[in-house]
């Protein structure tokens, strides 16, 4: 028996959550006032959890490293949020959303969790509308939907290209209501640097005030980590500059198992990098694949002519273009899931067909969509025999209302007009499906320590479908955690306030202060960023879109070397008792340098291809699926949960076997 108990409730899948909720211990309102909960992170997961917990009556302290909860990286989500509302009457249902999510995750997610997610998804939309979230609407005044990769129905709700912003502002407003009532105490510009365990339970955190540098102790009866993903271990990603693994990693080093660290999503549609100075990569929402067609030239001479500036993409006729997704995957075409689309782009670029100077770019072309919409509009408006220019004008108008801000963003960065010439895109690190292992109640392996949102290992298996992270973050925060945590807190009503004046807090604070002093005293010669960039290069080249055993073994060695050098030669100017971004970055990079090794170790042990994890040793050799990823359900149908054992390389592996009772395990085919 594994030490892992996922605590999945008994009964048929569709009744599990209801039955579980009915059996959960409740805390009465008077007692809730005696219970403190710390929520680290104010993104969709943390913001919604903090608001809900405070509303239920718990005393909440919330923390964020930005200067306002509204700036959590959820704000950047563009495309949309899924929900099984079936407003479009296209055959959607809770079961179908569940099925698509499990399949999209390449059968590496936990069925019971995913079903619950699909089940509460519809409530999210009701809730958000009630909060005043201005979703896109049709002319009849009802909510509009779009489709996303990997599915055949239209179930994605959106607010232009700013869905995450609108949802986060909704959660932020719910927080504000509670902050105004004094029920949430908000700590902005505070970074969690340690988890405090007392008698085996999570009882508090140590944070650094990023303005003054002061180290503070905060205690609570339970600690919720909603600190987002760790894609920045690659240095370049679509994450915000400050996104980090520190909170989760500190919990890991205190006993929380880290699950599937190697499951990373490389998103197919991002703006390609332009130079060594590049500090981050910008996503172009997957929703663009609804209307954009992806291609590269068929002939190498055209590729060369384009790179040399002798030809423009618009010079190429239809039959000189290779719409490779439509060619390879006729059923899903440009709407294949992200992992498939990313690998296909890499395959074309590796074969030499990349269309920019770096050879790492493919086209995303809106010409057909503009013409199609233009003709439609002309018909709707009763314009007979419209000119070509008129059609394009009308079509561009439609595209502008759908994706205006994305097109503007692209133009500002690349300095080209995507209405007139195709966008250039390339895959980039975007999301981490791995994270802290949690049971059905979202509790980690440390009693009283919970993880929500992207920070947990989540419901997305080995690959996340578009528009499902926002859904998961809000499901966790509004509808799951506030209930499941009650089960644990019901036993805490007699505990009384947790003192911070104890040996455990002394010890935790001391370890943080020592870590800071060590870093400040190195006084070496290289900047924090220079180490971070080196780590990122190793991760991208050897632990990135496709991996093999040799590369992974080398990566582990190289990461160790960089880590050792970091602790000998990093330079952090200024002092610890002030606003010091270099110090804050150094604390994060120190943890990335450990996580990176565990990440590679996990990728090495998983000798199968599944979802975002593509092992070159594991591909289909023949048949219709030739060249596609080959999953190995006999040997790897489990969650890999790693236990800290003094060093990232020494971590112990625990397996949670995944049972598929309601969905048949199948080879994923999008052909």
């Amino acid at each position: 028996m594994s030490v892992l108990n996922a605590k999945i409730p008994e009964g048929p899948i569709k009744d599990k959550w209801t039955n579980h909720k009915n059996k959960i211990n409740l805390v009465n309102p008077a007692n809730k006032r005696l219970i403190d909960v710390i929520v680290v992170g104010t993104g969709l997961a943390g913001g919604s959890a903090a608001a809900s917990l405070a509303e239920m009556g718990y005393k909440v302290k919330a923390f964020a490293f930005q200067d306002s909860p509204r700036r959590a990286h959820s704000i950047a989500a563009q495309g949309g949020i899924n929900a099984a509302k079936n407003y479009q009457n296209d055959g959607d249902s809770v079961y179908r959303l569940f099925y698509d999510t499990v399949k999209g995750g390449d059968y590496r997610g936990r069925e019971a969790n995913v079903y619950r997610l699909a089940e509460v998804s519809a409530n999210i939309i009701d809730q958000c509308v009630a909060q005043g979230v201005p979703f896109a609407r049709e002319y009849g005044g009802l909510l509009d939907n779009r489709s996303f990769g990997g599915v055949l129905v239209s179930r994605t709700f959106y607010a232009k290209g700013q869905t995450g912003q609108q949802l986060l502002l909704g959660a932020y407003s719910a927080m504000n209501r509670q902050i105004g009532k004094g029920k949430i105490q908000m700590y902005n510009r505070h970074e969690m640097l340690e988890l405090v365990i007392v008698d085996g339970k999570a009882r508090g955190i140590i944070v650094r005030n990023l303005v003054t540098g002061a180290i503070e102790r905060h205690s609570a009866h339970a600690v919720v980590l909603a600190t987002g993903g760790y894609g920045n271990v690659f240095f370049l990603s679509t994450n915000a500059m400050g996104s980090n693994v520190t909170a989760a990693w500190r919990a890991h080093k205190k006993g929380a198992f880290f699950a599937n660290p190697c499951y990373t999503q490389i998103h197919p549609t991002c703006i390609p990098r332009s130079g060594d100075y590049q500090s981050k990569l910008t996503l172009m929402s997957e929703s663009l694949r609804n209307d954009g067609r992806i291609w590269v030239p068929k002939k190498m001479e055209d590729v060369e002519a384009i790179r040399a500036g002798r030809k423009k993409p618009t010079d190429l006729s239809e039959d000189e273009r290779d719409y490779y997704l439509e060619r390879r995957y006729p059923a899903f075409g440009n709407l294949v899931p992200r992992d498939v689309a990313s690998r296909a782009a890499k395959e074309r670029c590796d074969a030499g067909f990349g269309v920019n100077q770096t050879g790492e770019a493919v086209y995303l072309d809106f010409k057909s969509a503009i013409e199609r919409y233009g003709k439609e509009q002309a018909t709707v408006r009763g314009e007979k025999n419209p000119s070509k220019e008129r059609i394009i004008e009308l079509g561009e108008e439609v595209v502008r209302t759908k994706y205006g801000n994305l097109f503007q963003m692209y133009e500002k960065i690349v300095d080209e007009n995507p209405y007139k010439t195709p966008m250039m895109i390339y895959p980039a690190v975007h999301y981490t499906m791995g994270g802290l292992w949690v049971d059905y109640n979202l509790m980690t392996t440390i009693p009283g320590c919970y993880a929500a949102g992207e920070a947990n290992f989540s419901d997305h298996g080995a690959n996340r479908l578009g528009a499902s992270a926002l859904m998961q973050g809000l499901a966790d925060g509004y509808f799951v955690l506030p209930y499941t945590i009650g089960d644990y807190l019901a036993d805490e009503i007699r505990t009384g306030p947790i003192s911070t004046d104890t040996p455990e807090f002394d010890e935790a604070e001391k370890s943080v202060v020592e870590r800071i002093d060590t870093l400040m005293n190195i006084n070496g010669s290289q900047s924090v960023d220079s180490f971070h960039k080196r780590l990122g290069m190793v991760m991208w080249n050897k632990v990135g879109m496709s991996r093999n055993a040799k590369g992974l073994e080398e990566a582990i060695q190289e990461i160790r070397t960089i880590r050792e050098e970091f602790w000998k030669d990093v330079r952090i100017p200024g002092s610890k008792n002030e606003f010091n971004t270099e110090l804050a970055k150094a604390m994060r990079v120190a943890d990335f340098l450990e996580l990176g090794e565990l990440f590679a170790k996990d990728a090495l042990h998983r000798n199968e291809s599944c979802g975002g994890h593509f092992r070159e040793e594991s591909v289909e050799l023949d048949g219709e699926q030739k060249g596609e990823a080959k999953r190995d359900d006999v040997n790897f149908k489990y969650v890999a949960a790693w236990e800290w054992n003094g060093d990232p390389g020494a971590a112990n592996l625990h397996k949670e076997d995944l049972e598929f009772k309601d969905i048949e395990l199948k080879q994923r085919s999008y052909k």
Partner: protein, 252 residues
Amino acid sequence: MSDKTMNLTLKIWRQKDAKSKGKMETYPVTGISEHMSFLEMLDVLNEQLVVEGKEPVEFDHDCREGICGMCSLHINGEAHGPDRRVTTCQLHMRMFKDGETIYIEPFRAKGFPVVKDLVVDRSAFDRIQHAGGFVSVNTSGNTIDANAIPVPKDDADEAFNAATCIGCGACVASCKNASAMLFVSAKVSQFSLLPQGKVEAKDRVMKMVKQMDLEGFGNCTNTGACEVECPKGISLDNIARMNREYLKASLK
């Protein structure tokens, strides 16, 4: 894509902390690519300073794609710099010329005290939202079906446009009165345009305006500077709408 590089002189505001006095310092930077973003250019400077053992310039930023509202900066006298409809993180060096001197200062306003160098404290914006920037609905999920109340598309679109405010504070920094009207009116408008927010509209506008005044933001004299510098194109119409709402609410 061509790749021109340039050499620049930066004049940057340095201030140790909220209590210290600050002053402008001069820094040369060389080999700046026109494709760099403005913040990447500052990264280059900071990398240089760190290696020289000097303290890097502190500035706020996070998403670097114009949505979190964390970046700020007054560049050559303009909030978010010379380009229109962009935040500082989206500003690209192709907007500048080789050999140019660029002046970089923090947002200046009574409501936004300097924290360090180019970093300012915009928590006043949060406090205005605590006062009423929400619809009083519980997060139970047991509300009515999302499609139970149709909302005319035009209202929904206008509410959305107002809701795209990123809370950056450029409107305040560009206003000679340091007024926060554009920011506050955007939130008030978003809610008052939607049926869900209308119920509390009167109460909301009174509370938010009261808090805005308490935070020391100035009066609006309709100069329109805020709209020009707002990276999200938040319209002055919102201010007019808020004034109407406020009047209605005070007359009741």
